[in-house]
Structure formats: structure tokens, C-alpha cells
Subunit: 241 residues, 4 copies
């Protein structure tokens, strides 16, 4: 399924640079801390994706970006360590041909929704991509007691199955994973999943919440997708300083 | 109702500069993120107002300020994109001759009040402008299922109607809009609506809240209006750095 | 009771400088925003105190410090505006000979305690100065409906009466006032009243809270008073940058 | 039990430097404020440990690090003040031969768990070290009403007893103490105890929480211990700026 390394062109340099910037944006905007990772599909091969070596996202530069195949094998890592959970990315790219970028994080305000039965739902148009609520993944149902990490292809497939056709899957005892049809969209969704979670937690404390219904959510998501350049400019300037 | 472009003088340069500063203040003080916008009425024409081109408020400079008429048409946009929701501003200026400035935002602590039945009311004198509670706008009542955006004049008129003679209107599933008789006052109100919302949310968790009554609110609002220069100096210096 | 201006020596320059620093510390540590003020008693006259002219605390320098008598009259203001609420300071200095410094603020996490019946009590040793709970001032009981401001001597006396012999008085619909036997102690108390309020609000959400009892509070307060230089060094270095 | 000063080699300079960095990291990451301290065992003597002189952790440099014996006596303090609570460190090192580093703090989000009966338990894999819940220390049970400080060896022994074989002990009315088998691990645990506390408080407000069970916690803790270098690089770079 994956191209042989010798046949694979180098990834587009602009895409590599944008992925490095995405790493730093996710840190600066509070989605990732020392952990978490973001990937983008290879521009020349649907069977490969780009992901940083094992390091804190805030410190990633273009020189730290590696290329992986859909079995989670890095083709150019050399002696550099790779993330244990690269299978999150590999198996979602395998299952979802529409997905171009994946963010895995311990996005803090989202965690409480991952560990309770309260559904993460859109309180405002910015998070219409949540639709009728985020998907949920319970690793215990798949593998019993574990270290919670998606450290092999089987767990990655199970996570991709839980995600289904959605944009966000919450991972019990762990974090969440967000996908998009572009790097900008995936980063946008990761940031506004986090924001929505904070606002929803506050709203629940005030009383019954009126969420966006399915049609509103779909319409709002489509509208916001036309405005991604505006926030990408803001977020990327902030990390360029 | 609007002057013809040929007859309209250029807006006062100091007012344009102040509007650019207001954009950056609202970002720095946490009222807007990559979205949201602030406008001011044209100094030479009650039928026009000034508003940035479609971009993140934090990045706005004086060169980005455009002039709009009350139909929401920009007279000097050229090929620059405009905000989808300029009708919020246009229709409020049309309906409220006393209003000189308008802030539309997704002010985060205010959102939970927009999506529940809990009224946003003043917990302290700083937010006396909230009076007996902020107005509320439910776009579903006007237009059924939408993308929640105020993207035409009819929706703008409905929003202006919900605002009535008040200072703040909460928009379900969306955000809020704040008006003032000066740019300084509108910015002040946007910042303290956000602060009040945070404090009110905490207070509700502690027990029954004693809010300012209508007379206290009116008296406090009048007193605070004499102190706007003090905070404007602070906020504008912070963004000048 | 107050010395005549002609007989009053200039205040100690180091005390003036420290008061300017205290203003900036209170902003940097989140106790004051664009509003709030801190004063210190004159070193050469118990009947006078030092307080900035009407301006945002974050911007105060030594040149902005004025001298007031206990009637709230500035002796050296010239054409500079003074704070409406200087009577808070004047009347507390008149009533409490032990007090050397006063902080008045809208310390945000404290406000919810001022507007509900939940008592602000020490959850940890850092806030032992709260004793068995902060005092409470309801301006309505004294003056009916007002703008909530302590804008004359009668209201200042009522506030001082509510404070009694305590360290902190909460002001319904307004904020709080904290006193100390030194500038360092008053600043410390203002900062830890704010911190304690935040922690107490969280603790109440978790279940029944074990507060410091009266003896623990008194012992802890005495111990902490021996450590003020440590935090003053930290806070003053942070604002010197 | 302790080596005589004359026989004790100077501590390894790299360890001293790392301890100074740990102090600044704990401030930068929000675990300590002007108070709190972190120590590491002496590399050449199990009967000694390194700890800063009495000062704010954020300001500690290598020149401020002193050497103490297990009776809490500094061997090189000269006229420099020492922390009142050095006995926390001394008695834990005496009781726990596996411990190499100790962090004592008033970690803010942890305090609410110290003062209520709600157990601090791991909501996600990052805090697997919490196991089935943090230990709890009630100083009243040991010494009646005090200033809450662990200011002598007897109180230190009681605290070490409450800690038992665990990683974290909550101290009612005071704060918490965290231990590790390396400086990196103790700092990691202090930071993620704080983060977990915040997330757990939010999760409890949303409904019944699924915590990591004992096996998951142990497996996750073991996995995370292999990733400490990643976050240490991030945290230490942040304080080097």
C-alpha cells in the first residue's frame, strides 16, 4: 500500500514548514503542552504522512519533521526517536481518505468530557464541526487495562473506528484526536474544541443549555471553513515573534 | 439616507487611529480572539460607519479601516474582503441614533449566558450598564435554522430590535453585541460585560446573589462614565508596546 | 487633627517609591485592573497619608503620589484629579491607629464572596489573616441606593466601622478593602485574599471544607509575617523588568 | 548517619545547576509562587540533600543552593536564612531511600483536594503516579492547633509517615508534597498533580468520573517515565529565556 522509499519524492517544503508552525501554534494556543502531536498527509503520496520526531511540539522546526508510512514506520528517522502513538495518525489516514491532517492532544478543557458521560456539543457556531456531539473511545473495551496509549496498529484501528466519519473523538483517560481536510482546518478544530469545552462546562453550571442543532451545526461549520485564513494569519504571526 | 461617496469627506484620522487601537485592545483584554469586530460612526456622516476589512482584530492598523453605509455597503473596499456580519453594525446605527460605537464578539465568559436562561446581571458597579439584565436574541425565532451569522439586513434589524434601548444583547449560539455613545464607552462595556460574566458565574456557584438593583445600576453607570479616560490610557498603552 | 501643610515635612522618598512599586505589583499580580488604589500613612504625620492621583495603578510612578489629610483633602494635588474614593483610606487611618497601609480593589475572585452570603475564610495558612472570616459591608444599609462608591467621609466611616479590627472587609456590589501594619503586609494580604478566594470557590464545589480554625489562623498569620521580604523581593523584581 | 562536613565532597555542579533550574521551572509552570521549595539528594551522600536558602524559588540560582543533613541542619549556610520547613525534605529522605527529589508547594489546584474529603485521583494517563489516590496528612491529628508548618523533625516524620510509599501527600490547610526517583520525575509529578487537580475539579462538575484504575495507573506511570526528557527540555528552555 505504501510507496517504496526510493520512489517517494521529498515532501513539499511549504507543507513541512506549515506543519512545524502548526506544532508551535497548538502549544501557543493551549491545545498541547509538552505532549501531543500534529501530522499532515504527504502531498505526493496518500500512503504517507509527515510528523515530528519525538519531542515537545513547541520546539519543533522543519528539520524535525519525518515521513511515515501507514504502518507507522518512519522512512527517514535514522537514530531519532519517534512518537509511541504514531499509529493514531497512520490508522486514521488509512481509514479516512478525506482526512489531510490529524491533531492528537491532551487538550485540557476537553479531558473532563472524555472521562464523564457528558457529551461535548457545540454551544456556538465556532464549533459547528462538533455536530451532534463528539465521538467517544474507551480503550478498555478494546484492550482491557493498558497504559492508555495507542501504541500499535490494532489500537489505532479501534480508535479510527470510534471516530467514524466525525471530526473529533474523545479518548477516555487520555485526551482527544481531531481531524481535518487541511492543516488549517484541523488546527482550527483543535483550538475551538478546547474553547467550546470550556464554555460548555461553564454553561452547564448555569442551567439547561441550548446547543446548536444538527442543521445549525452543519451550516455554521461550512461558513467557518471560509474564514480559516483569518485566524491562521493571527496564530502563525503570534508564533513567529 | 446615506451620503453619496463623492459627497462624503474622509473620516477624521484620529478617529480611524482610535478604532485601530480599539481592535487591538479588545484582543489584548480577551474580548475578541481571531473573530469579532468593532466599529465607530463616521464623524462627518450619521449614515456611515468605520469598520476594518475582514481580518483578525489583533492585526488591524489604520490602513485596514473601511467606510460603510447603513446598507452595509463598503464605499472604499476595492478588492478587500469585508466582514459577513457588517449588518450588525449597519442596522444598529440605523435604529439607534444615540449609538456611536458597536462591538460584536464571542466574548467567552458571556457565551454561557447567551445559551442558557440565566440572565446576565450586574454583580458590581463596574457593570452598571447591564441595568436589570442584558437583552437576548434568538435567531431561530426570526429565521429558523441558520449558520447563526447576522449576514443580511433583515437579521441585523431583528438583532437591533432585540437590543432595543439597551447596552448589550446576547446572541444565542453565537456571542454578544455591545453599544456605546463613544468608542471608549463601548470598549469599556465589552470588557466589563466579559468580566462581570466571569464573576457572576462564580458567584452563582456560591449561593444566592445580590445584584445591583435598577437604581444602583443607573447611578453606577453614570459614575463610571466619568472615569473612562483612566482605563483607556491603560489599555491603549498596553497595546502600544 | 491634621498638621498644617506648612508644618508637614515631605514624605520619605523611599516610602513614596515603595508605594509606586506597590501599585504596579497589585496590577501585575491581578488584584487591581484599571481601577483600585493603595495608600500608605505618612512617615512624619499620623494625620496624613500618601496616595496616587486619579490614574490606573499600573502606570503610577513616584511623581504621581500625592499627600492627603484625614478629611480626604489633598495638600499638593494642584490641578491633578484625585480618586473619588479617597475617603476609604482617610477614615480607616482615622479609626485604626495600627494601620499603616490600605488596599482598595475589585479583586476579582473576592467579588463573588462580597455579593453572596458565603463567608471568605482561610483554606490554608497563607491567608491566616482572614481569621474566622472577612467582614462585610452593605452600603444599602447605610445610604440606600447609591452608585456604590465610598465618595464621602460618612460612607468612609461606615466602611471603617464594618471593617472593625479586622484585616479585610468585603463591599457588596463593589469590591474589598484590605489593611496592614506595613505596605508589604497589606499587599501580601490583598494578593492572598484573592488567591484564597479562588481556592475556596473551587473547594466548595468539591464538598465540605475544613477551614483553619481561629487559633490556627492566628498562628499562621504570625508565621507568615516573618516571610514578607521573600515575596516582596519576587513581586518587586517582576515589575522592575 | 550523616557524614561529617569535613568528609563530604562538594555536590556535583551539574546537579546543583539542575536544582536551580527546577526551582525556576516550578514557578514558571505555576506549581510554586513566592513560596514552596524543591530539593535533591546529595550525589555523594545519601545522608545529605541540596536545597536553596530561604528565598522565592523563581529567583534561585546555583549560588543559592545549600547542603543539609537529615536532621535539617545546613552545613554551609553561613549567615543565610534557611527554610522553616526543611524538615519535610529531611524526614522524607530518611524514611524513603528510593526518593531522590522532593517538591513541597502550595500548588493551587491541589489545595481544594487537601481541604475536602474528595480524593485526588488520576483522570488521565499523565498522572498515573497518583495510583488509587493521593495520601492525606492532617497536622491537627499529630500536633493539635499549629501554624500548619512542618517546622521540626517530629512533624516531618509524621508527614513522611502519611506519605508512606506513595508519590504525593496532600497537607490539610497547607499544600502538598511530591517525591520522585529523579529531579525530572519529581518536577513532572508536581506539574501533573496540579494539572490533574484542575481537570478533576472540572470533571466532577460534569458528572460521574471514570478514573484510571490501579493497573492502568501503574502502566501509565511506567510509560510516562520514559518520556521525561521531552518535557524537561521544554520546561528548562522556557526558563532559560
Amino acid at each position: 500500500m505504501t510507496a517504496t522509499p526510493s520512489a517517494l519524492p521529498a515532501p513539499d517544503a511549504a507543507r513541512v514548514d506549515k506543519l512545524a508552525i502548526a506544532n508551535r501554534i497548538l502549544y501557543n494556543e493551549g491545545v498541547v503542552d509538552g505532549f501531543g502531536h500534529v501530522s499532515v498527509r504527504h502531498d505526493a503520496s496518500a500512503g504517507h504522512f509527515l510528523l515530528a520526531r519525538n519531542m515537545a511540539p513547541a520546539l519543533v522546526t522543519s528539520a524535525d519533521i519525518l515521513t511515515f508510512d501507514l504502518d507507522g514506520q518512519a522512512i527517514d528517522a535514522g537514530d531519532r526517536r519517534v512518537y509511541l502513538e504514531r499509529f493514531i495518525h497512520a490508522e486514521i489516514y488509512r481509514a479516512r481518505s478525506d482526512v489531510v491532517a490529524v491533531v492528537h492532544s491532551h487538550s485540557p478543557n476537553v479531558i473532563p468530557f472524555a472521562v464523564t458521560k457528558t457529551s461535548l456539543r457545540p454551544v456556538y457556531h465556532m464549533s459547528g464541526f462538533l455536530g451532534e456531539g463528539a465521538a467517544h473511545f474507551e480503550i478498555r473495551d478494546v484492550a482491557g487495562n493498558t497504559d492508555l496509549l495507542v501504541r500499535n496498529a490494532a489500537l489505532g484501528r479501534a480508535l479510527a473506528g470510534a471516530l467514524g466519519s466525525g471530526a473529533v473523538v474523545l479518548m477516555r483517560g487520555h485526551g482527544s484526536t481531531v481531524v481535518g481536510t487541511s492543516l488549517e482546518q484541523a488546527v482550527y478544530r483543535a483550538i475551538y474544541a478546547e474553547t467550546n469545552a470550556r464554555l460548555q462546562t461553564q454553561a452547564i453550571a448555569l442551567g439547561d443549555v441550548t446547543y446548536l442543532n444538527a442543521e445549525e451545526a452543519a451550516l455554521a461549520a461550512a461558513s467557518n471553513d471560509t474564514q480559516l485564513a483569518r485566524v491562521w494569519e493571527l496564530w502563525s504571526r503570534a508564533v513567529a515573534r
